[in-house]
């Protein structure tokens, strides 16, 4: 890998959490207790990210994602290990470090709530000391790509979720950051809006070689955007590789939910297992290695009259749990 933009070596973050008593007099005992247990939120994580990569960083809730991100952004000081971003130690050089990164949080905005969007952006220009010409150039480009024109003068509090996300992404990129963190950027958006955001992210990554780290629970975000995926659970990095490698490794069971046109006596089919059935609706489980979704649909359509169907990918939580269990078995 040519000189990586992010180097993480054996990164640790441990928290001391007060032991919680249960049972009689628990409240009182909790008040006086001095016993702690150690929570290893991030436990020996190592990876490198090259400039221009678009990486997914996923895991279940409580896996250690936010903790890692907080260390990468410089908000949190690690307990151990090494961490370099752009040649700097994030928490040691906070202001310099933060000037070259952008962050978008799906759950909340970075803009000023009561002010029109454009005034927030103007303020950010001064905070990030963006030269006027560059600011204008970026703003014009993002305005047209994200179609911000219609609501630049609207206060942030009056924006729809989709509009707010677009404004936030614009705000995060005005200062030409080399590194962009996206935390649930498409959460709560409709399909069209999601697609628009994804296209924009791809564009930024390709045109400006911005390194992007995406944290999300939406597996389709990952599938559409990321060449590389890292999976974390229980503080440990369980997987670091391409999406194909992940699929192969996972080898998991997908589901096909079918609404039949009429109630059949039996809905058995070769290559898939019926896991739920109530007359007119059935759910099949099938494995990618054994049969593809289109093959299965083909077989079913040949046999039965189908009203509607839906392919369900395994939930990311289930995927990760499975991988975790696998690893447990391996070691």
């Amino acid at each position: 890998m040519r000189s990586p933009i992010i180097t993480v070596q054996n990164l640790n973050k441990h928290f001391k959490v007060r032991k919680h008593h249960r049972g009689r007099m628990a409240g009182l005992r909790n008040f006086f207790t001095h016993e702690y247990r150690l929570v290893r939120a991030v436990d020996g994580v190592s990876f490198q990210i090259a400039p221009g990569e678009l990486v997914g960083y996923i895991g279940p809730n409580g896996a250690g994602k936010s903790t890692t991100l907080k260390m990468l952004t410089g908000l949190l000081v690690p307990t151990g290990g090494e961490l370099y971003v752009g040649g700097r130690i994030p928490w040691k050089e906070r202001q310099a470090h933060v000037a070259s990164l952008g962050a978008v949080f799906g759950q909340r905005t970075t803009l000023w709530w009561d002010l029109p969007v454009i005034e927030s952006l103007d303020l950010l220009q001064h905070i990030y000391r963006i030269p006027e010409a560059r600011f204008r150039q970026n703003l014009d480009e993002f305005e047209s790509l994200l179609e911000l024109g219609s609501f630049l003068d609207t206060p942030v509090r009056s924006l729809s979720l989709g509009q707010r996300m677009r404004a936030d992404i614009c705000a995060a990129l005005l200062h030409d950051p080399k590194l962009l963190f996206l935390d649930e950027p498409t959460i709560g958006l409709d399909v069209v809006a999601k697609e628009r955001i994804r296209q924009f992210i791809l564009h930024i990554n390709r045109e400006r070689s911005t390194t992007v780290i995406l944290t999300t629970h939406d597996l389709s975000d990952v599938e559409k955007l990321c060449e590389r995926v890292m999976i974390i659970d229980h503080g440990k990095l369980l997987f670091d590789g391409t999406l194909e490698a992940l699929r192969e490794r996972f080898n998991g069971r997908r589901e096909l939910a079918v609404d039949f046109a009429e109630a059949y006596e039996s809905v058995e089919i070769d290559g898939a297992q019926v896991v739920a059935w109530d007359g007119k609706h059935a759910t099949y489980q099938f494995e990618r290695k054994v049969i593809t979704a289109s093959e299965l649909i083909g077989r079913l359509s040949a046999r039965y009259q189908i009203h509607d169907l839906e392919v369900r990918e395994p939930e990311i939580e289930a995927t990760v749990r499975r991988i975790y269990e696998e690893r447990l078995l391996e070691s």
Binding site: F15, L75, V98, T110, W112, D114, L123
Partner: protein
């Protein structure tokens, strides 16, 4: 440095524009703030009239001086240090807004100072100022150039003191999560206590107010301005202690704040 001042000015301007967006709310706020202040002042004064118009030998005008100074100073603190008001700061930390500020390449203290510039406090400052001016007129201060220079210094010292208390209260929320009520004892309690001449308190209360050197913030400056003799026989330097105490606490509070930030960086929310 210039950039920092510029940044502070811009952050304040943002606050102003934000608050002026809600014009009715702002107007009502300013009016009600002023009314509350007026009532807070009027009530003890009315009670006083029942007790022969003086406390410990101090006349209404002299008491109004004590009150006017503290009121103006506290309103000034509320205006400038609003961002560090524990009632505002604690929820801000809980919501993750502090993290957001830490993600910007600007000094964090500056950002917090610029984040709650409460415009409506101007009403409160004006009102405190009016009481102060009226009081000064009532008591007929024998003005000297020293006294003229002294008054604003004392007010700033008092404001710094309250600002320090705010910062200490807010920083403690890193450890206690909920705001620390005990700080209110000093801010609100201290304010009320300082509005009366200290010699009316019993010895042990005065002791407390000397150790927590509140006695120097309002009482001694008043003695100096009014040319009254010191019934407590403090060293002659006592009137000069006001800004020392105020800015001293503020400096200590900033130190504590830096310490708190480091703690926050190692434990997060």
């Amino acid at each position: 440095m210039q950039w920092h001042l510029d940044m502070y000015r811009r952050l304040l301007a943002v606050q102003l524009r934000s608050q002026l967006q809600y014009r009715t709310s702002f107007a009502l706020d300013a009016i009600s703030s002023a009314l509350v202040s007026a009532i807070e002042f009027a009530a003890p004064m009315l009670v006083l009239q029942q007790f022969g118009n003086n406390i410990g030998g101090w006349t209404m005008g002299e008491l109004a001086l004590l009150y006017g100074m503290i009121d103006t100073a506290y309103a000034l603190t509320d205006l400038l240090f609003g961002g560090f008001d524990p009632d505002y700061f604690a929820p801000m930390v809980r919501r993750g807004t502090l993290d957001q500020l830490l993600l910007r390449p600007t000094n964090i203290t500056l950002q917090i100072l610029g984040s709650e510039f409460r415009l409506r406090r101007f009403g409160r400052i004006a009102q405190g100022g009016i009481i102060l001016v009226v009081a000064l007129a009532l008591v007929g201060v024998r003005w000297t150039p020293a006294k003229i220079a002294y008054l604003p210094v004392v007010l700033l010292g008092q404001a710094a003191f309250f600002g320090g208390l705010f910062i200490i209260g807010s920083t403690s929320t890193f450890w206690t999560v909920q705001r620390v009520e005990i700080i209110n004892v000093f801010t609100s309690g201290g304010r009320v206590a300082m509005c009366y001449p200290m010699h009316i308190y019993t010895k042990w209360v005065r002791r407390i107010f000397t150790i927590v050197p509140v006695i120097f913030l309002n009482y001694y400056p008043a003695l100096y301005l009014l040319n009254k003799p010191d019934p407590l026989n403090m060293p002659a330097i006592a009137p000069l202690m006001a800004p020392v105490v105020g800015f001293g606490l503020l400096a200590a509070a900033f130190g504590f704040w830096q310490f708190g930030l480091r703690y926050y960086a190692s434990t997060g929310t």
